[in-house]
């Protein structure tokens, strides 16, 4: 055998002769190699998915009649009517008030909590840190149900207070009530950003302050708090844009008393009116989209800026904990109140409610224990089907979304594709698309898809999967992207030089190395899609209800016991799934 390793110098018989192991050849189709085909397929799939709900919405907004009627004429009339007949200006102001108040409350809860948990020596810091992850398991819809069950006009706590004091000093069905609930749900997100910034910050800054004689409070005021400005600004915008598009709390609290925000406006005009005005719906969606897109663009800009502030050092310095003295006890009480009254009592109450026939402090609920609420779900095939549908949508959707997100990340970050930046923008674009608008837009898109393609999808679980999947795509992309960035590019390059084309490098090397991140994206997408419901309000049919839409239906019927039962089922499924997935992934880590 003559190869380089055994051949003595100068013994090369035929210097230009055929090589012993020539480089592998890869087939190309129509002049483009197979990697290019994948690039183009990815960008086309993403573009179709993202544009499908947007384009019909824009056309509808500018058309004088419903899209399904031929001969539509371009007009701005819809926008005029939106602000005159439909009083959209008032809706916008209400939304602004609601989102603004939510943002302020969220920051007021999150910032002190982040400082106290990350940087001071309060007891139980670790438990509080874990406790802040509760919204991962519980959707804001369920939280809303829980709050109403406990603090609503006829809620358990309200009734108890009324019987004790004679009156209830709060009213949940107001803008401040809505904002408080929403803030409790969103506080963990702002907390996460602030806590990360505090953990990453250079501890020697504080050490430096200590050496010049600053006390713990001076350090907090002059070093820690200013460092928090970037994450606070960023998470404010994030929370603001999330509360601009949220449906759950406004629907449960505001709708009955006539407080209308963006999402409930779409809900009311699109679903509740017998003869929906599509022009107004399109125009409203367009304006809402403009607002959310603008907010997401600002977020992107701020995040890039914020990254400049974060001083991550190569050497990990463990932040020194500040000794707060007696102040730490009020701090602990504050956090306990948030977790207890914000999450534990409402959710615990809701779960308890699911096992009782009635739920009021006026009669001992322990005497009314029953499984009837679960039985009702069990007996009605549509309710049972909604659980099955949710599981199918979440499972199939999670796989599809994670695969698409992985391919999008790898093409966006690791290819020489000319439009790789565009792929990233497309994958992250659904961040700016409220669930209801995705629902309405896809509904229209299916109705007008060529070759009757839409008719095949319309009203099936596939439609729900597409809608929910779009919503879950940005977070899946965001969770895989850092893992890909962590894999050294030289590993790719080594495979390329060894004879693997781009696609084979991906399948043989990169895909294996990001398997843990792919697993995490699967779990995240599954949980996100299990909790999701808003696109299904427009996309769903009687056969394709999911847990969320069924809960809403039961709620409207006044069947709060079964709502509580379904909510409990959803929480249990999520917890079991996350627990099993966590065990599996831990097992994998030991193998590797």
């Amino acid at each position: 055998m003559t190869n380089v390793l055994t051949r003595p110098r100068g013994a090369d018989a035929a210097p230009n002769g055929p090589e012993q192991y020539p480089a592998p050849r890869y087939r190309s189709l129509l002049g483009a190699d197979r990697s290019s085909w994948l690039y183009w397929a990815t960008i086309i799939v993403l573009a179709v998915l993202v544009l499908a709900p947007v384009v019909p919405t824009l056309i509808q907004a500018l058309s004088d009649r419903p899209l399904y009627e031929s001969g539509g004429v371009f007009t701005l009339d819809n926008f005029v009517r939106l602000f005159t007949e439909a009083d959209f200006g008032m809706v916008a102001l209400t939304t602004l008030a609601f989102a603004g108040l939510t943002t302020i409350l969220t920051i007021l809860i999150a910032v002190p909590m982040a400082i106290v948990v990350v940087r001071t020596d309060i007891p139980g810091r670790r438990i509080f840190g874990v406790g802040m992850q509760w919204p991962f398991f519980i959707s804001s819809l369920i939280l809303g149900f829980g709050w109403i069950t406990m603090y609503g006009p006829a809620g358990f706590v309200s009734t108890w207070v009324r019987s004790a004091v004679g009156t209830v000093p709060w009213d949940l069905y107001t803008i401040p009530g809505m904002a408080l609930t929403e803030a409790v749900a969103l506080a963990p997100i702002a907390y996460l950003f602030c806590a990360n910034a505090l953990r990453n910050a250079d501890a020697s800054l504080e050490g430096a302050a200590q050496t010049v004689g600053a006390g713990p409070f001076q350090i907090l005021r002059s070093v820690v708090v200013p460092m928090l400005r970037p994450p606070v600004v960023y998470s404010s915008i994030l929370v603001f844009s999330m509360s601009v598009e949220t449906l759950s709390v406004p629907l449960l609290y505001g709708q009955p008393v006539g407080i209308t925000v963006f999402a409930t406006f779409l809900y009311k005009n699109g679903l509740q009116s017998i003869n929906p005005d599509y022009g107004i719906l399109g125009a409203a969606s367009t304006i809402i989209l403009l607002v959310t897109v603008l907010l997401v663009v600002i977020q992107g800009k701020l995040l890039r800026e914020a990254k400049r502030f974060v001083s991550v050092r190569g050497k990990a310095t463990r932040p020194r904990l500040l000794d707060l003295g007696w102040i730490k006890w009020p701090a602990v009480v504050f956090i306990v109140i948030y977790l207890l009254f914000g999450a534990v009592i409402p959710i615990g109450g809701l779960v308890f409610r699911s096992f009782t026939a009635f739920f009021t402090p006026l009669a001992n609920p322990f005497n009314a224990l029953t499984l009837a609420n679960y039985q009702r779900i069990w007996e009605f095939p549509v309710y049972l089907a909604s659980i099955r549908n949710s599981l199918i949508v979440a499972a199939v959707g999670a796989v599809l979304v994670s695969v698409l997100a992985t391919i999008a990340v790898v093409v966006a970050r690791r290819s020489t594709f000319r439009y790789r930046k565009l792929i990233e923008y497309l994958a992250l674009a659904p961040q700016a698309m409220p669930g209801l608008i995705i629902g309405i837009g896809l509904f229209w898109a299916f109705a007008f898809a060529p070759f009757g393609l839409g008719a095949i999808v319309q009203g099936t679980l596939a439609a729900i999967i597409i809608g929910f999947g779009l919503r879950a795509l940005p977070s899946a992309f965001g969770s895989i992207s850092p893992a890909v960035m962590q894999v050294g590019e030289e590993l790719d390059n080594a495979a390329r030089v060894s004879g693997a084309d781009w696609l084979r490098t991906f399948t043989r090397i990169l895909s294996r190395l990001i398997t843990p991140a792919f697993g995490a994206a699967l779990v995240l997408s599954f949980v996100t899609m299990l909790k999701e419901y808003s696109p299904a309000i427009f996309l769903g049919s009687a056969k394709t209800n999911v847990i969320g839409t069924t809960m809403l239906e039961l709620w409207v019927q006044g069947n709060s016991g079964s709502v509580a039962a379904l909510a409990t089922i959803q929480i249990v499924i999520t917890a079991v799934f996350v627990g099993v997935a966590g065990l599996l992934m831990k097992g994998n880590k030991i193998d590797a």
């Binding site: 055998m1 390793l5 080594a494 390329r496 060894s498 004879g499 084309d501």
Partner: protein, 376 residues
């Protein structure tokens, strides 16, 4: 294995030119080194050769086969070039054993299973790692990983071996041994090797020829002796080894002898000038510390053509020699001498062939100049 020819290679990154029309010919079987400080374009050149970067213009070919031709818009992707490459981080695939790492390029080439086994064993054996074939990369030391990376790059008998600072992650002692080992292996195999490094000692010790690069330009190509003894430009003299630089002006040129007046100090001398210097030209005079000797100012001048009067500023004993810092006008000069004991006024004596003249260049960075400047 035919010659590697690079001509007029140019690479721009978003309007920034990192390679300025570099041309090189690397001969069959040669150990060729691209040497330069970080950011000089040496790694970019290597990446262009490997096909990992697409050049802006120029031509790259190996023998009859053209890998890149900017004018004909031809670009052969890395997987079709059949080259071997070792990366700075070694880039061993962490999820595969050593044997699997080596098997990958063979599998891609559809080499029969039985032959694969033999090839993998031979390659690992060559680098002394055959007994660890079933280990995973993270179970190896850095030096072992580096050798496996080399085996992986050689196992499929590539046309040319590309090495991107493969020794830079090893500690100093190991690096010296690896240098000897790698050079011996290369000459045994006779494979054309292109080596990228910023370490001049490495380059001098291993290479058949060296190309010195700086900010995207090729400064000089030559044998290690050429590069060290006869640097083509003041930058090369500054980058390779240590050099003293003095600014001066040519007063006259007579019969190939240039008379140089030193700025910043009172001295003038006559040296051989091989370039077309003319009277009035501003020049940079360079010489190496080990080529100079010291004589007491009071002692008789030795038979040297250049004498530079100065005062000893500092003395550093470094074992094999003594390093003197000599105040020379507003500058300091570095002189190596075999014995210590010089103090006060001295003469720095230089044989004529130790002194090289270059057109005036700013080779000393400003901050270094500040440190070296003598404030009286």
């Amino acid at each position: 294995m035919p010659d590697v020819v690079v001509s007029q290679l140019k690479k721009e990154f978003g309007g920034n030119t990192v390679l300025h029309e570099v041309s090189l010919t690397i001969k069959d079987g040669e150990f060729f080194t691209l040497l330069g400080p970080s950011g000089c374009g040496k790694s970019t050149t290597l990446s262009c050769l490997a096909g990992l970067e697409k050049p802006t213009s120029g031509v790259i070919s190996i023998g009859e086969e053209t890998f890149f031709d900017g004018e004909r818009n031809k670009f052969v992707p890395p997987e079709a070039r059949n080259l071997g490459m070792v990366f700075q981080s070694y880039a061993l695939w962490p999820h595969m054993t050593l044997a699997q790492n080596l098997a990958m390029p063979l599998k891609l080439r559809k080499v029969p299973k039985g032959e694969q086994q033999t090839l993998i064993h031979d390659a690992l054996d060559k680098v002394g790692m055959a007994h660890l074939a079933d280990r995973y990369p993270h179970q190896l030391s850095g030096g072992q990983q580096q050798r496996v990376a080399l085996a992986r790059a050689l196992v499929y008998s590539p046309r040319v071996l590309l090495l991107d600072e493969p020794l830079s992650n090893l500690d100093a002692k190991l690096r010296e041994q690896a240098r000897v080992w790698l050079k011996r292996l290369q000459s045994e195999l006779g494979i054309t090797t292109i080596y990228v490094t910023h370490d001049q000692e490495e380059a001098l010790a291993m290479s058949d020829r060296i190309a010195v690069m700086s900010s995207g330009h090729l400064l000089q190509v030559g044998s290690p002796e050429d590069i060290y003894e006869r640097p083509a430009t003041a930058e090369v003299a500054a980058f390779i080894g240590r050099s003293n630089f003095i600014d001066g002006t040519i007063r006259s040129v007579v019969e190939g002898k240039a008379r140089v007046v030193v700025e910043d100090a009172t001295a003038e001398f006559e040296v051989h000038a091989d370039r077309g210097f003319a009277a009035g030209d501003a020049v940079t005079v360079a010489f190496r510390p080990e080529r100079a000797t010291l004589v007491d100012a009071s002692a008789a001048a030795p038979d040297a053509s250049v004498l530079l009067p100065g005062d000893i500023l500092a003395t550093a004993y470094v074992g094999s020699r003594v390093e003197y810092t000599v105040r020379f006008g507003k500058r300091t000069l570095l002189v190596d001498h075999y014995r210590g004991g010089f103090t006060g006024p001295v003469n720095v004596a230089l044989p004529e062939d130790a002194v090289r003249l270059y057109p005036r260049t700013d080779v000393v960075p400003e901050d270094v100049e500040e440190l070296m400047a003598v404030t009286v």
